[in-house]
């Protein structure tokens, strides 16, 4: 089981770090630019650009936006891999051998996704880094002002809130696509359809849970 979990961490988390870093970096940069372009008044300090970037990245972009990306990348991988096993009777083969297919295929994915907050932590760091680079080198916010804004009114509970959301989303990303893969019917074409359906439902559930958790923890 340990080797299965490590394999899943490698495939689901480590294999997604590239796209997470890439997207986070540029999203962080875009948030900084958009914020800077909308703060025209000379009365508003430039440090607010850093503050807004930090809040946006930590509260929403890193946990929620990254989870939607993961629902597409990891979720469709989970559905298609389990669905293909279903279509090609590999799941029946497991059951005939006396292996509990849900235990063998889904449980390691759920445990592996517990490492997802580490990926989101990286997304937070890289997102803010992207914002700082865009701000400082694009001339939107001086480096010192941006860093001052990053430290402004920092509430540690926001990090806790963000990681609680991440853990919940990780469970959703592992289970909904697995369900769609395990209980799909049909052939190769239906595997594709199941992947799309899984992505849609995972995204919908993430968005709804995001609202509920925000209301519960910050509202």
């Amino acid at each position: 089981m340990r080797s299965l979990i490590l394999k899943e961490i490698d495939e689901l988390i480590y294999g997604s770090l590239g796209i997470i870093i890439f997207i986070s970096f540029f999203i962080g940069g875009v948030v900084t630019i958009q914020t800077a372009l909308n703060l025209n008044s000379p009365l508003i300090p430039k440090s607010l650009i850093g503050f807004a970037t930090r809040q946006s990245v930590i509260l929403e972009f890193a946990p929620t936006f990254t989870s939607i990306i993961m629902a597409g990348k990891v979720g469709s991988y989970i559905t298609s891999s389990i669905g293909t096993m279903k279509v090609t009777e590999q799941i029946d083969a497991l059951e005939v051998m006396g292996v509990n297919s849900v235990n063998y295929l889904v449980f390691p994915k759920i445990i592996a996704m517990l490492a997802y907050p580490f990926a989101v932590a990286i997304a937070m760091y890289v997102g803010i880094l992207g914002g700082w680079i865009a701000g400082a080198f694009g001339g939107y916010a001086p480096s010192g002002e941006f860093i001052k804004g990053l430290q402004l009114d920092f509430i540690p509970f926001h990090i806790t809130y963000s990681f609680i959301k991440t853990v919940v989303f990780a469970f959703v990303i592992a289970t909904i696509p697995s369900f769609h893969g395990l209980y799909m019917k049909g052939g190769a074409l239906e595997v594709g359809k199941a992947s799309t359906t899984a992505f849609v439902w995972t995204s919908v559930v993430i968005i709804i849970l995001n609202y509920i958790l925000t209301q519960l923890m910050l509202g």
Binding site: T84, T88, E89, Q90, D92, A93, E95, V96, G98
Partner: protein
């Protein structure tokens, strides 16, 4: 030995198995034949424990499946080997990984012991140089052999095969048939094969069950199938011109 008593299985309003009773003896190759939709696969899945019949009993060497606890059922399943129609090999694992899988899951053998066992069974199915290859890198016939190797690696008491010859050329099909029969005799396994292949029926059918619309319409051996007057069986088995001529020659020879 597997004893089947009056099993019924339905899906919604469709009554697929309508009271099948039979006995599959140890060390014999038992064949289930019948047209598509006659209930062969459902019957095989009932024997495997993948479907639970609504009525009737299946008894494995004195153990009634319906009376077994969950853990006893799991133990029983470890005594079963299954060769699926499409081989159902784990495509992310090598040939060696596929065959080693049940050993890794259910035994406490050391890596060296497992490797010895894998080498032995792969040699037994005449696969020597394919250990490190993936299923997609080997032919359909080789995949079937790997599936047989995986099915027998745990020394099963029961071997089930769903259309083991489908998609294979006639020569490879005969090799697979002979291999299954040899293994059945060698390890005294109760083997049940679901097939459409009339060559298999003639070659290795020590006991043949003909299903028609979910009912056992005929039961006998490959010798008896030549003599039978059962119209449903003769229409099914001798549907091709070749087999009609073979039967005609047999009858003329007998007269």
């Amino acid at each position: 030995m597997i004893e089947v008593e009056n099993i019924h299985k339905s899906f919604g309003d469709t009554h697929v198995l309508k009271g099948i009773s039979t006995v599959f003896e140890d060390g014999k190759t038992n064949l289930i034949i019948g047209q598509s939709g006659s209930g062969k696969t459902v019957f095989l899945k009932c024997l495997l424990g993948l479907f639970e019949p609504e009525e009737g009993q299946i008894c494995y060497n004195g153990q009634f499946y319906s009376e077994l606890s969950r853990s006893e059922r799991r133990d029983l399943r470890q005594e079963m080997g299954m060769v699926f129609q499409g081989s159902a090999l784990f495509d992310s694992m090598t040939v060696e990984g596929n065959v080693m899988f049940p050993l890794g899951m259910f035994t406490n053998q050391s890596k060296a012991e497992m490797q010895d066992r894998v080498d032995f069974v792969l040699e037994r199915v005449n696969l020597i140089d394919a250990h490190k290859k993936f299923p997609s890198e080997i032919s359909g016939g080789m995949q079937k052999r790997v599936a047989i190797a995986r099915a027998i690696v745990m020394n099963p008491k029961y071997l089930f095969c769903d259309e083991p010859n489908s998609g294979l050329d006639p020569k490879t099909a005969i090799l697979i048939d002979n291999l299954i029969q040899e293994i059945t005799k060698e390890y005294n396994i109760t083997t049940v094969i679901n097939t459409h292949d009339m060559n298999s029926v003639m070659e290795i059918g020590e006991k043949i069950i003909f299903l028609k619309d979910g009912i056992k319409a005929w039961e006998g051996t490959n010798k008896e199938i030549f003599k039978t007057d059962n119209e449903a069986v003769t229409n099914f088995v001798y549907s091709s011109e070749l087999f009609k001529k073979v039967r005609q020659m047999y009858i003329e020879e007998r007269n």
